[in-house]
């Protein structure tokens, strides 16, 4: 009788264990999620980085390439939380941000770091900032469909193709046209006297599990950030992603030199960069790390070309018409 009881208990335990096994990666992620809920207000970028390392995607297993390095291959992005629905009569509705739970107040995140400019560039920066209508200004080279440069391009969506000798990044872009970079990991050096280009010349090597990339020969025709910003993942499953606006990370010289660090942890890619500009900066700019999450099997890189039709109609702020919010109607006078 006692044996039957134990056997029945063991059978139930085995059945429970079987149905409790994670059936898909998101469930596995839930099982490894931190038991403590992240705070509603993240006080600093250092705290934010620690929280990202504890987040569900980062807690998953990191796959390896055949050469033993972390496998960076895949489509990386952050869901923008937009919703598309359709009715039986063929009607379609797009709701910007509609996939997010608007009833919950969003978590508050810290501002990203900014470069420190020499005083002689203050007037130029002041002029740019005063001409911005909210996050928008036609001074931004993105409005001419020019590539975003480095590190601005590395905000996703993007696809990484990794081989032992090259790592290729295919940028989709949410604003300009598609572009690509080839990062040589075969031991070569930069060319001796390269022409500048929008995305520069890149050589990389592995330091432990991090791909370290040295980027030179960058044209001064791009910006470092600013304007429309980029999207970072939320810290919890189900939380909407959040927008980072690098509002003053703007101009640079053709002496810009960037050291990038790409680290895959589970299903999260951390992008770190240090930007040196001996002409314009008082010290190197350590970019606040960015994070991308790997796309599911249905997510693919999307064709994006760019045609500039907006620029000629963008207005600058005036006393009577200063920026209030992105889509809201202004109160009538």
């Amino acid at each position: 009788m006692r044996f039957l009881y134990i056997a029945r208990a063991a059978a139930f335990s085995a059945l429970f264990a079987l149905i409790s096994l994670p059936r898909d990666p998101s469930m596995a992620a839930q099982n490894t999620a931190p038991s403590v809920k992240p705070p509603d207000i993240v006080q600093s970028n250092e705290e934010l980085q620690k929280l990202y390392l504890q987040s569900p995607p980062a807690q998953m297993r990191t796959p390896r390439a055949s050469d033993g390095h972390p496998d960076l291959n895949g489509f990386w992005y952050n869901d923008l939380g937009n919703l598309g629905t359709r009715d039986a009569n063929g009607s379609v509705k797009f709701d910007l941000g509609g996939a997010r739970d608007r009833s919950k107040p969003p978590r508050k995140y810290p501002e990203p770091s900014e470069p420190s400019y020499k005083p002689e560039y203050a007037a130029k920066i002041k002029s740019i900032v005063e001409g911005q209508y909210g996050p928008t200004t036609t001074d931004d080279p993105n409005f001419d469909c020019l590539p975003s440069g480095v590190p601005r391009a590395s905000t996703g969506p993007l696809q990484i193709v990794q081989t032992p000798k090259v790592v290729v990044i295919l940028y989709e872009s949410n604003f300009v046209g598609e572009s690509f970079r080839v990062i040589y990991t075969d031991g070569r050096q930069h060319p001796k006297d390269p022409d500048t280009s929008y995305l520069g010349h890149s050589i990389g090597h592995w330091e432990g599990d991090t791909l370290v990339v040295d980027v030179t020969a960058l044209t001064d025709e791009t910006w470092l950030g600013g304007g429309q910003g980029h999207t970072e993942p939320g810290l919890e499953l189900g939380e909407g992603n959040h927008q980072i606006v690098e509002k003053f990370a703007l101009i640079h010289s053709d002496q810009e030199h960037v050291t990038e660090r790409y680290t895959r942890r589970g299903n999260m890619l951390t992008y770190e960069a240090t930007v040196e500009d001996p002409v314009m900066f008082t010290k190197p700019w350590v970019v606040t790390p960015r994070h991308l999450v790997i796309g599911g099997p249905d997510q693919e890189l999307f064709e994006t070309f760019c045609v500039s039709l907006d620029k000629q109609h963008i207005v600058k702020p005036t006393r009577d018409d200063s920026y209030t919010c992105n889509y809201c109607k202004k109160p009538s006078n």
Binding site: L96, E130, T136, V307, T324, N326
Partner: protein
């Protein structure tokens, strides 16, 4: 140096926005269009540019004399529609459609930011932005 008052005001606005409407800033629609100036226009869809930074639809609209004029309408970036399941094929060249849009701030005629496409069979394509 940067005007600290202006910087402070801008920071306050950005801080407020980062709380109020995360994940939707792209470029300010209000930097180009006036949301209080809404209008409707009916015509034939002649062309779609499914491109960054914004999708454009072109409409031939007949004026009072019967002469066709081309109107253009801006939308969001194609990637945003694509990942939400809204397809370029949801629009057909040659369709007659009534577009509800908001007008350009700089006074440009025949230009708008598209909010709704209404077809003769009753179906609609609504492009809702900013928690309206």
């Amino acid at each position: 140096m940067i005007n600290r008052n202006l910087l402070g005001r801008l920071l306050a606005v950005f801080a407020l926005l980062s709380i109020a409407i995360p994940a939707i800033a792209h470029h300010s629609v209000t930097a180009e269009f006036d949301p209080s100036k809404e209008f409707n226009v009916t015509g034939v869809l002649t062309k779609i540019l499914w491109v960054n930074p914004h999708v454009y639809w072109f409409l031939d609209v007949k004026d009072e004399s019967g002469k066709a004029e081309t109107w253009s309408f801006e939308g969001n970036p194609p990637g945003m529609y694509h990942r939400a399941g809204v397809r370029k094929d949801d629009w057909k060249i040659g369709d007659e459609v009534t577009i509800t849009a908001v007008a350009a701030k700089d006074g440009t005629k025949h230009l708008g930011f598209a909010k709704m496409f209404k077809y003769q069979d009753g179906h609609t394509i609504v492009l809702k932005v900013g928690g309206e």
